[in-house]
Symmetry: C2
Subunit: 217 residues, 2 copies
């Protein structure tokens, strides 16, 4: 589901890395990012993107179809980079570093991450791409939980890695994206520390430990 | 900052509860909610709202100025209801019930809560109103943390009520608003339970306990 939705109809496109297809995509996605930074997704048009990218309008229309297609491809491209989660030697350190990265990506102005989240409220195609990107990021971060388990930092039993990662990172997103509060320099570490304490107490351990979904209030 | 931005210029408006001013506001805000439900904030226009409310266009323009003013007033109105946080007898029960309310408000279709969050990405005025509404909700929920402290459910010392409430509720928002995942019937309780375990371990206790902002990774 990643990449442009339709190949060019006239013969197989040149898909060598650095070939024309890749080059055109890079130019167009760079133009989308620049337009998003300057005027948000509401100001995004196929025409402006084509002009900025120096690519013919019909090429942009053929490969990305509409603004939703452009947004989705920018989001998909974010999932294609070889990003690696932090590896600091402790679960708390890793989650703190991860939260700092998240905070940084949301407070930088203009924030592409924020623009894409905003856009995905208004384009079904962007929303689906955003959901795919979250899945990629959560999968990439599972290694961080696996390492913590191997170091003995988590209670025995199966850890709900998604639940732990969400508990650690959701407050930073919540604070900046939904509450729209000023950045809190202490929050990345506090949210990480709280999630680690909950994890140590068995909050994310399934089939054992406390706090699981089978407990009753 | 709540309420319509400008009073009618022709003489003092009738501000008795149930008076004409209140009645017009109720009609107009009902129309905004109905329009949001049907077509989202992107389809919202002063003209459609006026027509639906059966109120003259010039009245709507004079009192709310623009679509941002209408959105902000709907959000402000949500903060004026006499909502009370749950009181179940335990911190975990209260936070679970709170999360279930939040989940319900976000999964109901159409979701006014979701529509207003989406709108506040695109209207500065709506965004400021949304920030005010969050502040009201957090303040209303502090009593829940105070009761838990009085029952001895929290470690001695000052509890960061905002931090605890955010840890408990952010995952439900995160899951439904940002990840756009299908509702998870276990998440309200799991997120509440994790926050309670973290709180018991001192994650939100300042000036004592573990996990505070002074700790280093």
């Amino acid at each position: 589901m990643t990449g442009p939705p339709t190949p060019t109809p006239a013969g197989p496109p040149d898909r060598r890395p650095g070939g024309r297809t890749a080059r055109v995509r890079a130019q167009v996605l760079d133009a989308v990012r620049a337009e998003l930074a300057e005027r948000g997704h509401e100001g995004l048009t196929m025409e402006r993107v084509a002009a900025r990218a120096g690519v013919h309008r019909t090429t942009v229309h053929r490969r990305w179809r509409d603004v939703g297609g452009l947004l989705a491809d920018v989001i998909d491209a974010a999932g294609e980079t070889d990003w690696q989660p932090p590896d600091t030697g402790s679960l708390r350190g890793d989650l703190t570093a991860l939260n700092r990265e998240i905070q940084q990506s949301l407070v930088v102005r203009p924030s592409l991450a924020l623009a894409l989240m905003a856009a995905s409220f208004h384009s079904e195609q962007a929303a689906r791409a955003q959901t795919r990107l979250w899945a990629v990021r959560y999968a990439q971060c599972e290694v961080l939980v696996g390492r913590a388990a191997a170091r003995g930092e988590l209670p025995p039993g199966r850890t709900d890695a998604h639940g732990l990662l969400m508990a650690a990172t959701a407050p930073v997103h919540h604070h900046l994206v939904l509450l729209r509060a000023d950045p809190d320099p202490l929050l990345p570490e506090r949210a990480a520390a709280a999630a680690v304490l909950a994890a140590a107490a068995g909050a994310f351990t399934r089939g054992g430990g406390g706090g699981g979904g089978d407990a009753r209030q």
